[in-house]
Structure formats: structure tokens, C-alpha cells
Symmetry: C2
Subunit: 262 residues, 2 copies
């Protein structure tokens, strides 16, 4: 008797029409039964945002193909929550998100809707992997990733993932040279330094557009950024316990504050 | 000669009219020079969202008082970025966020706009503290927190914070009994289990409202949730390196995947 095929929920933060989403869904069809739930609009850089002020709606998208597609008016995290509870009517064996048009290495993970969906799934105990390509083009070339994505997905399904860990997988942009392999990395230290230029609208009112410069602040060779530069796939085991455990004792002075109440 | 007073940026995610924001700003006036930059709308549960699709605008709010207030059409993270770069014209000595109307203990920190502002500041090297009260009322009673907030703030300014660490401070709701003191805690393990009810609009179309049940999954006594239950202030040293360092070796199998390119 054949084993039941794994149920895979696919989402992203670039919207339901993104090339990377459909590339990922097609690859997942080699591995299991695929349900796609994505956002109406581009929801990049929405972090772990959820919809609390509006009603959420999910609708099927009519299309031919090997997988079902649903569109949601919320965020990537809403897609995961609604997807496995109201659309799939079963707990998926795996949630995958992407392929993001743009890197989620280093501190980009903190702003990422793609990885927020992955983290949301893992918080609910579902193995989850986010895939991102270090290229922002809407028509990015994803053709060098097939075996890596299928291989990583199969391994996550077969062996599971450590408790409280999801995977943040980033790929180098396609170049003349084939990808050299996979490295397990840590999130590189960096920050975005915004440089706001003053703009003025037709009424003379000032406005700003968010933009900035990526400032690398790491000296190690074991980071995701270095892996991508070296033409490797980076995999960062990513969690959701934000406690800095080894700094708890450094704060013990705060327990001695003499308080008398407000 | 007197030392220059510290420059303090105050923000939140409940909007510029929230009671908790102005309570915090008033308390900060005891400690330094205060600039408030908050959001036009309530931006709870917007996580580390930033505004990339619209122009950002900041306007002063006309009012009498000991501190200046500016309102921004973006997210709490946008407020921090714009606040210290375009409004204050100087690097603040401290960023504080809150007082949030609602707990940011345990996994609530992951959804929190209040704490996203704090993390954004700390990523840029600025000491930062988030304050939240375990009470969601718009007219919540914050009167028991004065000495704790001033004391914690002064200590953070005088002694600084460990590298890569900001503080997630949560307060118990006012009760008959005074707060017992301060505990340094870790983020409790828990999850939000959504229970989506089916609703139908006037056209018969289904919709859902996000809501859920907090499922506690921790057995330790050193968590923020236990501290609040015991009527203590919880302080969690909170970071932004999401790598689960001690699970990197557990993933070494992924580096042996036999890949031939897509």
C-alpha cells in the first residue's frame, strides 16, 4: 500500500501572482499534495503583522493546474492561520514560503513576511521552511534551484526539524558558476541605515520614502551573507524565543531597584 | 556645570492619542527631554512592519505641554526610523515604547508593534525599553507603575544595556496588592490557537475575524507569564539574532545533500 502523500501549504509575501510562488508550488508537486494560499497584494516587509481591524476573506482562484490556489485579503501570517484551519481542513505536514524575490539573509529576516509565515507555522508545531533568492526582479531566474528546494523539502519531511526551529534558506542569484553546495549558517550581524531624502508634494508638504543602505557589521565567516557571497545556499536554523538567555544575569541589578509603588 | 539632559524618543503602537503613550511621556519628562512620535492609527499586532509602498509623512501635533508630539502615517518601526533621523535631528540616548494597552509577554512579543519599535532602535545601537501593561482597556489604570518605569529607565540610561539586548518590560494589572518587585525572566513558551468562526456578510460571502485562545506550553517558573501571575514586573532581555545556535550541528545532514543544480 502506498503511503499517503504529504500535505503541503505554500505561501509567500509577494502576492498570489508572483513568479517565485508558482515556481515553489510546481516544485512541491513533486513532493506532495499542494495548496497555495497567498495574499491579494504584495506584502513584503510586513513582518509578523496580523489583521485585527478588518474581516478576513479567502477565495479560490480559478485556474487549471496541478495545485489549488486561494487568495486572502490579509497578511502572510493570516494566510498560514486561515490556510490550515479553514482552507485545508487538515494540519499540513509542511509549510513552505517563497520563493521570495529578494534575500532574507541577515537582519532582513526580521522585516520579512515570507519568514513570518514560516515562523507562525513552526510556533504551531508545523515543520516550515522559507526560501528566498538574492534577486529582487519580478522576473527573476529561479531555474538553478530545483534540486536544492526539492532536496531540502524532502529532508525536512523525512527527518523532521528540531523543536522550535524552522529553516531560513537563501539562494545566490544565478551566475555563470553553479552553486557550490549548502552551508548551515548563523544570521549575520548588520543593520539598515536609512537615508531619508526630503521630498515635497504639490502642496509643498514634505514626505519621505523608505530606502536605505545595508551596513554589514560581522567579522565571522560562518554567516548567511558570506555563504551567499561564496555562491553557497545558506540555511539558518531560525527560532522564536527572543530571550537573550546569556544576558539574564547581567540584568540582575534591576531586581534590586528600590520601588515604593506609583 | 550641569550635564545635558538625556534625549528620549517615546513611541508606541496604540496611536498618538493613547492614554499609555502620554503616561509614559509624562514619566520620561522626569528623566530627560522628551519627543513623542506615534502613529495616526492603532497599529497593534503589526509586528516589524515597515512602509515601502506609500510616502511617509510626519506632522507636529499642536498642544500645550512639557513635550513635543509628532504623528506619522506609518508603523511603529517607521516612527523610530523617521523620529531620530528627521524629527529629532540627533541620536536619542534612549528609545522607550508604550505603555502598551495589553501584555507583550511570551509570544505576544512576536506580533507586537510596541516591541518592534524597541528592537528597531536597538538594531541601530540605541538603548531601548518597551513597557506593557497586562490590561487591554483604553482607559487602563497605569497609576501603580510610576516608580518602576522611572527607575528602570534611569538604570538603562546610567548603566547602558548589554550589546544586542533591549528590554521587554511587562507589568501586572493593578490589583488590591502592590507589585512585589522585579524579576528577570525568559519569554514563556506558548502559542495562539485561533478558532475561526464562520460568518457571512449580506451577500452570503464568508468572512472570518481573527481571535484566539492563548495556549500556555511552559513548565518553568522563570518565565514572564509566571512573574505577572505572581504580581511581579517581568523584564526579558530581548534580542534580534534569531539563529538557534545550538541546533546548527543538528542540521549538518543538509550539507551532504547530493545536488546537481536545477
Amino acid at each position: 500500500m502506498q503511503d499517503k502523500r504529504p500535505q503541503i501549504l505554500v505561501t509567500n509575501d509577494d502576492g498570489y501572482q508572483a513568479k517565485g510562488l508558482h515556481k515553489l508550488a510546481e516544485l512541491m508537486c513533486r513532493v506532495g499534495e499542494v495548496t497555495v494560499i497567498s495574499t491579494e497584494r504584495v506584502m513584503s516587509a510586513q513582518g509578523h503583522s496580523i489583521t485585527t481591524q478588518n474581516h478576513l476573506r479567502v477565495k479560490p482562484v480559478e485556474r487549471a493546474g496541478a495545485y489549488r490556489v486561494f487568495v486572502c485579503n490579509g497578511t502572510p501570517v493570516d494566510c498560514v492561520k486561515l490556510g490550515y484551519q479553514k482552507v485545508m481542513h487538515c494540519r499540513p505536514d509542511l509549510v513552505v514560503s517563497g520563493i521570495n524575490h529578494g534575500s532574507n539573509a541577515s537582519v532582513n529576516v526580521i522585516y520579512s513576511g515570507t519568514m513570518a509565515a514560516v515562523i507562525e507555522a513552526r510556533m504551531n508545531g508545523i515543520p516550515a521552511v522559507g526560501f528566498s533568492l538574492d534577486c529582487y526582479d519580478a522576473d527573476a531566474d529561479f531555474s538553478h534551484l530545483d534540486d536544492y528546494i526539492v532536496g531540502i523539502t524532502r529532508q525536512a519531511l523525512e527527518k523532521g526539524l528540531p523543536d522550535g526551529v524552522c529553516l531560513n534558506v537563501n539562494f545566490p542569484k544565478r551566475s555563470e558558476n553553479p552553486i557550490k553546495g549548502v552551508r548551515i549558517c548563523r544570521q549575520a550581524k548588520a543593520r539598515w541605515a536609512e537615508l531619508f531624502e526630503d521630498h515635497y508634494d504639490e502642496n509643498g508638504e514634505p514626505y519621505y520614502d523608505l530606502g536605505g543602505e545595508f551596513v554589514y557589521q560581522d567579522e565571522g565567516n560562518d554567516t548567511d551573507i558570506v555563504a551567499l557571497q561564496d555562491n553557497y545556499v545558506s540555511i539558518v536554523p531560525t527560532g522564536f524565543d527572543w530571550t537573550v538567555h546569556d544576558r539574564m544575569t547581567a540584568l540582575c541589578d534591576y531586581t534590586h531597584l528600590c520601588m515604593k509603588g506609583g
